[in-house]
Symmetry: C2
């Protein structure tokens, strides 16, 4: 009896152990998945061929170029030259803001010890970047005319490894003895959520499924229940699906991705804007503690409890204290954009207000107005105006565009001005870059980021890096004052002299960083600006 | 003569002044553009109606639900409960990792002074977020069957305010006496880059253009030259275009946007990986200067010149010096994620290696292996393994998914495990979250960001915020050692005791922040995990 009992206990323990191992075995696919960056799959090649067929033809029919339209088409090989001036007057350079072309490629390569090597390296890095960024949802697809297939052309999404019903599938051909459709995918499988009589299905749960029926209406009813399950995990990609009959083909994309998890800020819900709950003021300081103190005192007159974040890279940092002040000490001379990136990285409120350490808040510095426009429009960032001691107010509005340039790089175009006035906000416009006094959505400004390599100066670089991701505005009626720049030489303080010496001394190293970032990091060959 | 001369001079000056004003007048549209967040335009309403027509019908045909497929379809109202266990054994909780369901909504609202108010506020913020994120390129479009129109269904892009030729337009109907097509847009205008004889065009340069011809081939040749010009500026949106005949309609989207400016890193091009040029090591330290010193010494054994960035929020910061060390002082107790966000904000190399301040590098800590996998695959971040003093090695691999939940919020599911092995890298897998020892692409890690509100603890929150934007991997063969956690009570140092007291003391304020972030910021109602 005892031996039996021991045997049974032994078996029970072994089964328990096996069960334990089975249940705790980490779920995951054991066969490897290739995640090298790639561009062309089987279906894509098929697609490419079909597009060539559909978009060519009619070569025998003559045409007459319409120059005023054709001249606006991108050449894909931008040329580095300023716009031609339409007239030349004496002193025209003084009267008209002339546009200059800066050949970035030349400026960077001529001073580089190995121009061919760095050119090749940049091409390699860009090629990798393109392959990593490649998304099948961006590829050109042309819908064939007179196609009896009905299918979704956009808007179909599935979360990774989940299942959806594909909406809108149908076949509208002439009724006959038999109707058949084929579905093929690469990153997932097909199935049906319900079955319909008189429809035969082959390949349920596989990447290739065939449905057929003698009854067209039954097949169409069945097509309302076709499902797609993503089986090859990827956090953000797309699967190109081929949906066809024996004669016709169609292609559409199913986006595969986790979806965007929102970042909402709980800032209270009073009737009036609670600036302390909504806004953090951020600044960078260097060698100007006196000006910084003036700034803080002026802020406290109007916003006594708003948090002020200060990034400080002085060689001998002084203490900056007070309620709602967060003072961060950086290694000496780390620089302007490193300080900006640091300060912004610490903000926990919905909005961040960037100010320079030599600004002075006045009764016209109504942050509420800036909050109002960001609350009510799609803007991500709104600049204000900075009033110099002369009374002149600067908004520094610029538009920025990038023109494709082929292998040598793209062309960056920067112009003074703005795109349009904002309806409902008559003193506000939309632009691409604004002055260094702005309110921004914290999450969007953090995502855009300030390149910490830019130590001594930099401004438009932030807006260039943010191009396409920030919707930028500018309001001329929110004004901050600039502590005077016009100081007579004999009245400069020691700290003023030290600051100017550090900041404005010509540094070829600093200029090299800018050239390198434009040439290599952003891949520009040319910049035109005023 | 003098009077005449004065008159002419006067006129010349006035003309010059007018000319000056004309040429320097900032270009921009003076009529306001409405940039309030909105969802439905005229064309979208038309589209919605058509989709309803195409996707309904056949209601009289019966179907039989296929349960094993239908059960996987998202309900859009996730329920907050753990997966049902299929068996119950004694001590099963010990044998099997049980899944728990945490009702985030309940936990947060029951301790909130104004649950209805905060619920309403969250709904309001979410609604604004949805309207701001709305993109016409995500709306469902279904291609009509047997449509004589040929048109592009995806892949058409234009830079803001620029012009492109729309590829793939065509009409393939039976030849007749007259053929007419209509084009309508909202954010741009149509024109032709070339004209073709016998085709009449009405509305060139306008939002609505009509082309017609008695010759079908001539019309098709003309359609090869149709251009679209974006006229309403927006940095990132899409225009839904309607392309139709008198009988048939089609809809497609033209994406309008600046395009992505690359962020390429110039890290040299030697045969072997130059870790100092490619990688910056980042860490946060608090009350453990002794361990930090051990970490630095161990790093220097293998990587003598790699830059180490240290974020330090000690109350009484000590000096941490040495070549290639950047030491940042934060306000006291700012916390864990604020420190992580700070450290990462300062990195200028292509990759950033996150380490805790109590790690020890050994001969198995081959950063080159991590660089290799990021150079060769689409991964954005790869975790390693941390070896405890017991010899046990932890990779902390987790998968994360989000299930839609309707108005109350979504459900977050976290499980131990990974998705699949990586081909070519047998010790590496793809997951959604990994351990606190990882190498990441600096620009992608900076964009994901560490929420600076999380002061005492936090880990998975980074990966949750990054869900969908980071491709995450984990390799078990790159190992760092963890300075012992198993310390006998009588041998703890004073700093050890102080650290544990600070970090592990129960703080309801800290826990409140986590609850609030899950409920409000990320809009979850439930979390299930092991």
């Amino acid at each position: 009896m005892r031996a039996n009992y021991k045997k049974r206990l032994g078996l029970l323990l072994i089964s328990g152990l096996l069960l334990f191992l089975f249940c705790t075995w980490s779920p995951g696919t054991s066969s490897g998945v290739d995640i090298q960056p790639r561009q062309w799959g089987q279906i894509q090649k098929l697609l490419e061929g079909k597009i060539q067929d559909t978009t060519s033809g009619y070569h025998d029919i003559a045409y007459h170029i319409k120059n005023d339209v054709a001249c606006h088409l991108a050449q894909n090989t931008c040329v580095c030259r300023a716009d031609e001036e339409t007239f030349h007057l004496p002193f025209s350079d003084l009267l008209v803001s002339r546009v200059w072309a800066h050949n970035i490629e030349l400026a960077f390569l001529e001073s580089h010890p190995d121009p061919r090597g760095v050119k090749r390296h940049r091409a390699q890095e860009y090629s990798r970047f393109q392959k990593r960024s490649y998304n099948p949802a961006d590829v050109l697809i042309v819908a064939e005319a007179n196609n009896p297939l009905q299918y979704p052309t956009q808007g179909v999404e599935v979360r990774p490894l989940k299942t959806i019903i594909i909406p809108g599938l149908g076949l509208k051909e002439e009724t006959g003895s038999s109707h058949t459709v084929y579905l093929t995918a690469t990153l997932g499988t097909f199935d049906v959520a319900a079955t319909v009589d008189r429809v035969s299905i082959k390949g349920e749960g596989e990447k290739h499924m065939i449905l057929s029926s003698p009854l067209l209406s039954a097949l169409n009813r069945q097509l309302q229940f076709v499902t797609y399950t993503n089986t090859v995990f990827h956090p953000k990609t797309a699967d190109t699906v081929q949906f066809s009959t024996d004669v016709h083909q169609s292609f559409f994309t199913i986006k595969v991705g986790h979806g965007t998890i929102p970042k909402l800020y709980n800032s209270g819900y009073q009737r009036e804007y609670n600036i302390s709950a909504l806004v953090t003021i951020a600044t960078k300081t260097f060698l100007r503690y006196d000006k910084l103190k003036d700034l803080i005192d002026s802020i406290r007159q109007y916003y006594p409890t708003v948090t002020i974040v200060i990034a400080d890279d002085n060689e001998h940092p002084q203490s900056v204290t007070g309620p709602h002040i967060d003072h961060y000490i950086m290694p000496f001379g780390k620089g302007w954009f490193a300080g900006r990136n640091l300060a912004v990285s610490q903000v926990t409120t919905k909005y961040v207000l960037w100010v320079d350490d030599d600004f002075i808040f006045t009764a016209n510095t109504k942050v509420e107005r800036m909050v109002d426009i960001l609350e009510k429009t799609t803007l991500d960032l709104v600049g204000g105006a900075v009033r110099e001691v002369t009374g002149y107010t600067v908004t520094f509005r610029h538009t920025i565009s990038v023109e494709e340039g082929g292998e040598e790089g793209d062309c960056l175009h920067i112009r003074n001005g703005y795109h349009h006035v904002i309806e409902g906000f008559p003193n506000c416009v939309v632009a691409d870059a604004v002055i260094n006094f702005f309110l921004g959505r914290t999450d969007k400004v953090q995502q855009a980021g300030f390149n910490p390599r830019l130590a001594r100066h930099g401004h438009l670089e932030f807006f260039i890096d943010a191009l396409g991701s920030l919707h930028v505005g500018s309001c001329s009626d929110v004004i901050v004052s600039h502590a005077s720049k016009i100081i007579l030489p004999w009245s400069k303080t020691d700290s003023q002299k030290a600051y100017e010496k550090f900041r404005y001394s010509s540094s070829s190293a600093d200029s090299d960083v800018h050239k390198e970032d434009f040439y290599f990091k952003n891949r520009f060959k040319c910049m035109t600006s005023h």
